[in-house]
């Protein structure tokens, strides 16, 4: 009896966010329901395959989470993802040097667009929803001109295919390792650095953060740049996975990345949320999409269930406090 009391009172117990716990419970429930349909849902091959697919969304959602922690949103994800994929495959076509630099070049293009977003939000004080929308439109225009005017190479380099589809130790997919590295760096950034503290501070109240001596504008700019780089990196992974880049490749990632962050317990108003929650959200969404397609529900039914499940889960634990 006293042991239970000691556990519930311990620091570890209190540190568990109820939202994150619910998200993990939902994952377990989904797997349980899936295993009733077919036992292959619990096989290691299936789970590893799902984690591999999840890592693309995971990398993109990491950037989205950083921006959401600031209390902003990044609607430029679809075309920044496409820019990352298309510019890196284009660089591959420029010869050996281009092929070697394809991945950093793609990321750099994403960082550039992220800087435009960040400059608009931090220094021009534009609502992030508008400026990222406009940057999305510009990125789309650039890519249309790029593909139509220069007909660049669209197949990905060996290195891109290796990090997206290869396996190294113990059959763990490389994409999962990449997500692990990105995630580890993000956790370190958010919990162990002053920059991470600044992100949470700005998300709670930018004024207070500024008065406490944080250079908030620079922090916002850098965060958006990181988010742009991560979206582009997600596009590079996707291009490696599909072994080619295409114009609309990022369209399917905007809404799931926002949903994943929010299902992971982060507040869309900023300042609150943990990376482990985002991981849970990403896995949850990937599993949901996968199970719905495996049990052969048509696209229409999948969309309806997908939306209904998100609302049901948010009503379960994402409600705001009553005002006044």
């Amino acid at each position: 009896m006293s042991v239970v009391a000691a556990i519930t009172r311990s620091a570890l117990w209190r540190k568990i966010d109820p939202a994150v716990a619910t998200a993990f419970c939902c994952i377990a429930l989904l797997l349980f329901l899936g295993s009733l349909y077919s036992s292959s849902f619990l096989s290691p091959e299936y789970l590893l395959q799902q984690l591999k697919v999840a890592s693309f969304l995971g990398v993109i959602a990491t950037g989205m989470m950083l921006v959401i922690l600031l209390g902003q949103i990044d609607l430029s994800v679809p075309w920044v993802v496409a820019v990352g994929g298309m510019m890196s495959t284009a660089a591959t076509g420029w010869g050996p040097v281009g092929e070697a630099l394809a991945i950093p070049f793609g990321i750099l293009c994403g960082v550039g667009l992220g800087i435009v977003n960040g400059f608009g939000v931090a220094y021009l004080r534009l609502p992030s929803m508008i400026i990222t929308l406009a940057v999305n439109a510009v990125a789309q225009g650039l890519m249309v001109v790029h593909t139509g005017g220069f007909s660049p190479q669209d197949s990905s380099s060996a290195a891109m295919r290796f990090i997206a589809t290869g396996h190294t130790l113990l059959g763990i997919p490389n994409a999962l390792i990449v997500w692990g590295v990105v995630g580890g760096a993000t956790i370190f950034l958010l919990t162990r650095t002053t920059f991470g503290r600044a992100i949470y501070g700005i998300g709670n109240r930018e004024r207070a953060a500024y008065l406490s001596g944080v250079r908030t504008q620079r922090a916002v700019l850098v965060t958006f740049a990181i988010a742009g780089g991560l979206s582009a990196f997600g596009g590079i992974l996707l291009a490696g996975y599909a072994s080619k880049a295409a114009q609309a490749m990022g369209d399917a990632y905007l809404l799931p990345s926002i949903a994943a962050v929010v299902l992971g317990g982060a507040s869309i108003l900023g300042g609150r949320g943990t990376y482990i929650g985002t991981v849970a959200g990403v896995i949850l969404i990937t599993l949901l999409q996968s199970i719905l397609s495996v049990i052969q529900i048509e696209e229409a039914g999948r969309q309806i269930i997908y939306g209904a499940v998100i609302i049901a889960m948010l009503l379960l634990y994402g409600r705001q406090r009553r005002e006044a």
């Binding site: 949103i73 609607l75 608009g120 021009l124 004080r125 534009l126 609502p127 929803m129 508008i130 400026i131 929308l133 406009a134 940057v135 999305n136 439109a137 510009v138 990125a139 789309q140 225009g141 650039l142 249309v144 001109v145 139509g148 005017g149 930018e206 004024r207 500024y210 008065l211 908030t216 609309a248 369209d251 809404l255 926002i258 949903a259 929010v262 869309i268 108003l269 048509e298 696209e299 229409a300 039914g301 999948r302 969309q303 309806i304 269930i305 997908y306 939306g307 209904a308 998100i310 609302i311 948010l314 009503l315 994402g318 409600r319 705001q320 406090r321 009553r322 005002e323 006044a324």
Partner: protein, 326 residues
């Protein structure tokens, strides 16, 4: 009229949108190979009115500092529905059209109920309800098809008295029947008050929840009118994810260009209408100048970026650095 300064300030966004639209359209019509003819105006009006209706739908919600990312999906859903039921005898057509509008209002009511009474954030909620509406649209029309009563379609997309595009008249009627009564009603004032300051509105006894809920219903209704109109133009129903997504994003762009503040409480649907017409004209300008259509998306994007950056002009009026962070 001693308060003209105040009134001018209140409508500045709308007036700016009007001026920009007239300028752009003058350049467009002036350089159009066919000149300023009734045909050119009719085609431009049909495309513009569609976006204007969706932008109006977005305006209602944005005025209360909310956002509706499902307007495009409601548009597509009602388009698919209309391609099934707005057919047959005149009575059936009218009943069908009413059914389509009711469906839109119900869609808006569901989103609104979840946001207001379920206390979820509008961004995430409307993403999720949008997925549901799109799923239903896809179930209705797995492949594009269907038809619409052609007499009705011609009446709404043709011309009145051989001159004026019927779509513009229809838009005017929508404004007079929905926007003007709304703006002068208690609910309309409440919507503006909620957008300016929810706490102050609550303390003043304004029906905060009713107003915030009704704007979503109106938004759904307007999106349904847009869906009906889309059916009149294309004479078919199509559950296109690309259409749904771009109409949602364009509606936000049009609202911003029309001088409606995304922070709520200022702007009007009239401004949003001109914002929408302006956004459409931007897209067509390049076509008139005979440039490669390849450059059209980039041009549209750069103009949009430049237009939203104009919003930061207010920074020059800030005296205290702290005011930046509010």
């Amino acid at each position: 009229m001693r308060d003209w300064r105040y009134r001018l300030g209140e409508h500045r966004g709308t007036l700016l949108a009007l001026v920009f639209f007239v300028l752009m359209f003058a350049i467009y019509a002036g350089d159009h190979p066919a000149g300023f003819t009734a045909n050119v105006v009719q085609t431009a009006a049909n495309k513009g009115v569609l976006l204007a209706l969706v932008a109006m739908a977005q305006t209602f919600v944005v005025l209360t500092a909310g956002i509706d990312l499902s307007v495009g999906m409601v548009l597509v859903l009602t388009n698919c529905l209309a391609s099934w039921i707005a057919l047959g005898s005149p009575v059936m057509v009218v009943l069908g059209a009413v059914g389509v509008l009711l469906t839109g209002a119900v869609c808006g009511a569901i989103s609104g109920a979840i946001v207001i009474y379920g206390r979820l954030q509008p961004i995430v909620t409307t993403i999720a309800t949008g997925a549901i509406y799109f799923g239903i649209a896809l179930a209705l029309r797995p492949v594009p098809g269907g038809d619409v009563d052609s007499d009705l379609a011609d009446a709404f997309t043709g011309r009145v008295f051989g001159m004026i595009p019927a779509s513009l008249v229809a838009l005017l009627v929508v404004v007079l029947l929905i926007w003007v009564p709304f703006r002068h009603s208690q609910i309309g004032r409440a919507a503006y008050a909620v957008g300016s300051s929810p706490a102050a509105a609550y303390m003043s006894g304004v029906p905060v929840r009713t107003a915030s809920f009704l704007v979503y219903v109106l938004s759904g209704l307007l999106a349904a009118i847009g869906g009906l109109f889309l059916t009149f133009i294309t004479a078919s129903g199509e559950a296109s994810a690309a259409n749904a997504g771009s109409y949602t994003l364009f509606s936000i762009a049009a609202v911003v260009l029309g001088g409606v503040s995304l922070f709520g409480g200022s702007g009007s649907a009239i401004g949003a209408i001109f914002g929408a017409l302006m956004f459409r004209t931007i897209g067509d300008l390049l076509f008139v100048f005979d440039l490669d259509p390849l450059w059209q998306p980039l041009f549209q994007g750069v103009v949009l970026l430049a237009a939203v950056c104009l919003g930061s002009v207010r920074l020059f009026q800030i005296r205290n650095r702290l005011d930046l962070f509010e």
